[in-house]
Symmetry: C2
Subunit: 348 residues, 2 copies
DNA sequence: GATTGGCACTCGCAAGGCGAGAGTGCTAGA
DNA sequence: TCTAGCACTCTCGCCTTGCGAGTGCCAATC
């Protein structure tokens, strides 16, 4: 007996897709008659039943209980998602709406913040945005500014025009000349380098002058947190967390609580979104998710960047019974728009 | 018939307090026997029943249904809360824990951010922190820094040492001398003034020099958003939103969804916390809350500040059946600690 | 040989009935 | 004024039952 399920023309495949479609839409286990009521498959209920029984044997469907309809298994969803090769169907209206939101706003940071809300509204699920990723940014310019109270503000501009600032307490001994010289040194040596790749050792070599200057260089490196643990500083924006409660699939309060608890911990979300999606849009279905708390959801995510560099990730969290097609389209489109904007900023 | 309920020594009052205490602890309607099992009131169940019937007539208690125990009404909670004149009972351990968290951290901004988490952990409810309130801050120092790409960074230091920064695009005509002169003017004239009270008209008078300088002054005023709508910029931090779901009182998912939706809208939360508490710690019970979405919760809040000035608010959102005593203590203690830190920073 | 109609069977779910228990209000007596 | 006793009320959990959706199988059909 050969398994024709992967053949896009086979009837088995068509039935599987139809079942998943229906289940996503209605949320109820779909039986043979219900399926026929919505799709004209040209065969009788009995035939559907036989095929569905086989699909269950193959592991694509499952029954909540003996006399209920069928529900897609993780494997079933996976095949369904894989069959959506190119996320196409974004309504014109929707695409325009998103585009306008991006055109209206210039400042990249604000843009990224708004993206979370935008995506959550477009999908009715929960949106997460990570970025811009500090460790992946490229050094462009570093300036110092003395503040009242003996403090020093460091302002770092990255090549896409984003700013990072830190404040350090300044010891008495440092003169304006020290600052100027260190600034000159660093700006010369660091321009074009990727921040996350700077090592303490290398930066140390740039502090050549007085002891005060060497101290300053060290302090700068520490404040910029050049080492690997840059994750901690990555910014995470959420949108539509309340939407989780609108999903009838999350009847179990414990699950929802764990989920919300997870979203509260920026560190975890940041880690989750740090794994840059392999293809363009990546989908984790249920147990495929790397974190315990997410194993009853699905996650759709895509990276955005500037030029070739990945600078952040936009993700959507929803029930396993998610409108994959639509969500994948939105995520793909939005990440594309973001990439455009950031790339444009880089050119300036 | 005279109502002795407000007399702290009366038996009626004692019974009311006992009922509220018990209900807060158990969450179940409390009957006459259950009450006696936990408090030794020196009278028989029948007497309790008579008193409770009267308390119900007076509107302090209510019955979910005929043959159940009593539950406090909003009026009952109100009397209960008012009877906690000074929030005292903070465990030594807890006080020390909070104090240590504040001692460990120097930077005021980080401190305020962490407060939300701290308070939510200490209370097991949801914590909200508003601040530091930009409009209430006092001008201390303004500095400019040219950035690559023709942009200008403005860094404003307030008298408590907090920073605000904005970026504006600079037209070509502006020289370094223009910047220096404007900076000198503004720093002289604005020092000690409250930011929220600056009017466009007044600031305009400070732009005396060239047309370029006048333009710059206008741009600065716009960027600092000196007008009344400063609310929009106030920062809101949340902690323990997931705790809402742990409260058995919130069985109704719709209510919780509305609540989470409310918390997501920073603007609303900011508005909510903007009304500075009248006394030291202010409590809104159920329908006393100004927002529809909160009418099934209680809100405890207190302001913190620097010296005499109110700079922000810390609030806790929980079920009407809240552990008022404990929460009020925590909120009071934390706002006190924050005020200490900020006041100390102001002196430096 | 694949497909179909017919049919008996299974199972979850909602509705109704029932008993137990907690709590009350009332009344009469101390 | 307080208390003991008692009849009454109402919810909650449990069980039973009937209904309906859906299945799997089998024999008949194309």
């Amino acid at each position: 007996m050969s398994d024709h399920t992967h053949d896009p023309d086979s009837r088995k495949f068509a039935i599987l897709i139809a079942v998943v479609d229906d289940y996503i839409q209605t949320g109820e286990p779909v039986g043979s008659l219900a399926l026929l009521a919505r799709h004209d498959l040209g065969v009788s209920p009995a035939t559907i039943r036989n095929e569905m029984a086989e699909l269950e044997n193959l592991g694509y469907l499952q029954q909540p209980h003996t006399s209920a309809g069928r529900v897609p298994s993780a494997k079933g969803y996976r095949l369904y998602v894989d069959s959506i090769s190119e996320p196409t169907g974004l309504e014109d209206v929707e695409a325009r709406w998103i585009r306008e939101a991006y055109d209206a706003q210039r400042d990249a940071t604000t843009l990224i913040q708004q993206t979370a809300r935008l995506v959550s509204e477009a999908t009715s699920y929960t949106a997460m945005v990570l970025g811009p990723r500090y460790a992946k940014a490229v050094f462009r310019d570093l300036k110092f500014l003395r503040l009242p109270g003996g403090r020093l503000l460091m302002v770092l501009t990255t090549d896409v025009g984003l700013l990072e600032h830190r404040v350090i307490d300044l010891p008495d001994g440092l003169t304006d000349e020290d600052l100027a010289e260190v600034s000159r040194n660093l700006n010369q040596s660091l321009r074009g380098l990727i921040l996350g790749k700077l090592t303490r050792g290398y930066v140390r070599t740039l502090g050549t002058g007085s002891a005060a200057q060497r101290w300053l260089v060290g302090a700068i490196f520490d404040a910029l947190g050049g080492t690997g643990q840059a994750d901690a500083d990555d910014k995470v924006y959420l949108g539509g967390t309340a939407n989780i409660l609108s999903q009838p699939d999350f009847g179990d309060l414990d699950v929802v609580r764990d989920l919300l608890g997870f979203l509260e911990r920026d560190r975890l979300v940041s880690e989750l979104l740090s794994r840059p999606p392999a293809g363009h849009v990546q989908v984790f279905i249920g147990a495929e998710n790397p974190y315990q708390e997410l194993q009853s959801c699905s996650l759709v995510m895509a990276a955005f960047g500037a030029g070739e560099r990945v600078m952040g990730t936009v993700g959507v969290l929803g029930p396993t019974r998610m409108r994959y097609g639509h969500v994948m389209s939105v995520v793909s489109y939005v990440s594309g728009q973001l990439t455009n904007v950031l790339t444009r900023q880089m050119r300036r």
